[in-house]
Symmetry: D2
């Protein structure tokens, strides 16, 4: 474990959300479509798949100072919110969904906040 | 050369635009910042870099039938239009900018058209 | 339908494989983990997910003339072969797996051939 | 600034390297092809462009537990080493090249180490 030398940024938040989504897809796939609780994880997998791609690109556009970064954040926030909402349904049963929902909520908030700033 | 077996689709258009943008970035980098005509290619490179990433993901979201595909197309069209506008400035001097501008205009039109359809 | 104006290239092949993989993931997810034939599609989904990402980047590296394009093609061929092998198990039952297996075989062959050329 | 709750991982290292590469591309583009010290930054930009893409996918493959993660790390280490070597040439003059070289060296080491472990 090392001491982090930099302030936690929006770029970090995007990449952490992408990571949580990647982990959630894999965990959902490995437990099968039905999770033994009567839940169908298909919607969760599909949302996490999109969210991983979109958060990754959101982080990269911010890092590079893209002219489209703010517009992309607005879209990213929507995807993160949809993914969080679905993962929250399963958060009581699956740690990977709980972690993913939290990462998505955080990313949605930071994207909204940054895209709204002057 | 082979006979294409499939109808040309929006997914193809997105990937062709991404390819044209990748080629344009490399060609602009290799001729240097100044192109010998007094043009600064920095804006062109930066726009093509963003456009390549966004068109690639637009094509993939369409291919997978994502719920966010239409919203993404709206953003993709904006990026393609901005990239086309910049590349058109150099289209008389550089074949790679001309090819990129055409690919971007086509992609913008298809993204606009598809995102507007019911 | 339009007349294609360019020769079919390795870049096209990579993007077509990525598209087939995206479609296969979605189709497999939508029919559920078990496909009604007693097949578990989890391995297929996981391989297609990796293959879509790797073929996309393979196409982009080739388009941009990257120094790492040949090394990347070697890895891409391995992933395509693994994905083809898995999809071929289901090709008799599912059109999306058949299409994906064919796209993967073609991409593997072109990646092998191009990476071996001087 | 917040307290980090997780151990720093290989996934984090990959994403931090991708971020440093994105920043380095933009900074190099904005100072022009020639940096006022007589250095041509074209090689640096091209390497960082590839390295950003490859590190991003390396981090994602690790996060998802891909079967191809180790093979990908080997390739990623090569790209990171090439990028570090180029950025080190400019590290005395440009803070973004210094930061990028350090991120690339760290990522190369972790990729080598992890790909070699049983």
């Amino acid at each position: 474990m090392e001491t982090m030398q930099h302030t936690h940024t929006h770029v970090d938040t995007c990449f952490e959300c992408a990571e949580a989504c990647e982990r959630c897809v894999t965990a959902c796939l490995e437990m099968g479509d039905k999770d033994g609780k009567g839940h169908d994880m298909t919607a969760c997998i599909k949302l996490c798949r999109d969210c991983a791609d979109i958060c990754t690109l959101c982080g990269r556009l911010d890092a590079r100072g893209s002219d489209f970064s703010r517009d992309f954040m607005v879209l990213c926030a929507e995807v993160c919110e949809a993914c969080a909402k679905e993962c929250e349904k399963h958060a009581g049963h699956h740690a990977h969904c709980k972690a993913c929902a939290e990462a998505c909520r955080k990313c949605a908030e930071e994207c909204r906040s940054m895209s709204a700033s002057a």
